[in-house]
């Protein structure tokens, strides 16, 4: 049977706003499959985003959806989760939204380890504003605000998440469609802050400026650069030059924030009684 994505999408909302060949739709499909795998109740699931192309995703989803301000998704999400810990809280957004303007909220969300899942759709560019360089645009690449090539060093979003204290960090690409839902599902099931970075393509704003002839070229590049983390362990360093590790990059068990706060509530109520 064809997969029933429509049951999870608000009626009449397709076609979405994303450009031809933009991988955001592929990630959205993966997210829907992951939510199905985990059996998430739509009424009890909030999907929170910031601003940008990827942040339009929640509007299509038939859940409690919150399209916030630029960079603020993780902080709004923390409020939802603290005030109603029993809700499933998912965050989606792009690279600029998540780790440039939203960088502070991102790292502190990782540090607190609330039980939330953040799916970062990393397409290495600000798409909605027309292709300015982001913190993940490769050094030397072309963007509308780097007329002489990008002078900036980049963030590795997954490493940033691990360093900041997220307890489940995984990475895949829009090419590896079946891995998207598996990793998101694993992140949702993980009790704590999970970050799933999906390397994505922006044919309109990144591809055209950086000598990709087509959407398919961009997809093939994603296939070529990805090396599963288990395979990488057996590869010599020179062969890993320019490659990006995929799969579950980090996982640990650490007390979850809301569960710890529940203990504070019990303690305070006890002291009050």
């Amino acid at each position: 049977m064809a997969y029933d994505y429509e049951k999870s999408i608000r009626p009449g909302k397709l076609p979405h706003i994303w450009c031809p060949g933009c991988g955001h739709g592929i990630v959205m499909k993966g997210l829907i499959r992951a939510m199905d795998t985990c059996g998430l109740d739509k009424n009890n699931t909030a999907i929170v985003s910031g601003i940008g192309c990827a942040s339009r995703l929640p509007g299509y989803m038939d859940c409690c959806t919150l399209h916030t301000a630029h960079g603020r998704a993780a902080a709004f999400a923390a409020g939802v989760k603290m005030a109603k810990p029993e809700m499933n809280v998912l965050i989606v957004g792009g690279d600029g939204d998540g780790v440039a303007i939203g960088g502070n909220h991102f790292i502190h969300a990782c540090r607190r380890n609330m039980d939330m899942t953040y799916v970062v759709l990393n397409n290495n560019i600000y798409g909605m504003t027309g292709g300015q360089f982001s913190p993940t645009t490769p050094t030397g690449a072309n963007a509308s605000t780097t007329p002489y090539g990008n002078p900036d060093p980049t963030f590795d979003i997954s490493k940033l998440a691990i360093g900041a204290g997220a307890t489940f960090v995984a990475r895949t690409t829009a090419f590896h469609a079946t891995q998207i839902d598996k990793l998101i599902a694993e992140g949702i099931k993980h009790k704590g802050m999970s970050v799933i970075e999906v390397l994505d393509d922006c044919p309109t704003c990144f591809g055209r400026r950086n000598k990709f002839r087509s959407v398919v070229d961009m997809m093939k590049r994603l296939k070529e650069v990805a090396v599963p983390v288990q395979a990488a362990a057996k590869m010599p360093a020179e062969k890993l030059e320019g490659k990006i590790l995929t799969g579950v990059l980090f996982k640990e068990e650490r007390p979850e924030y809301c569960a710890e706060y529940a203990k504070i509530i019990e303690k305070a109520k006890g002291a009050n009684a």
Binding site: L14, P20, G23, V216
Partner: protein, 63 residues
Amino acid sequence: MSSPRVEVIDRLCKGCSICVEFCPTRVFEMDGFIAKVVKEDACIKCMQCELRCPDFAVKVHTE
């Protein structure tokens, strides 16, 4: 065994050509700005097209 019905929803297809390129049995071709099913019988139900279509426009109806 009957071959599955492969559907491109014209209203949703944005013509990225991902299905055309990634189908191992060349079921699709571009027809102007959108994809079109041209060799439905060749479909081997690998579901690559449905999985990869970013636009929710390709469906593979299997029994």
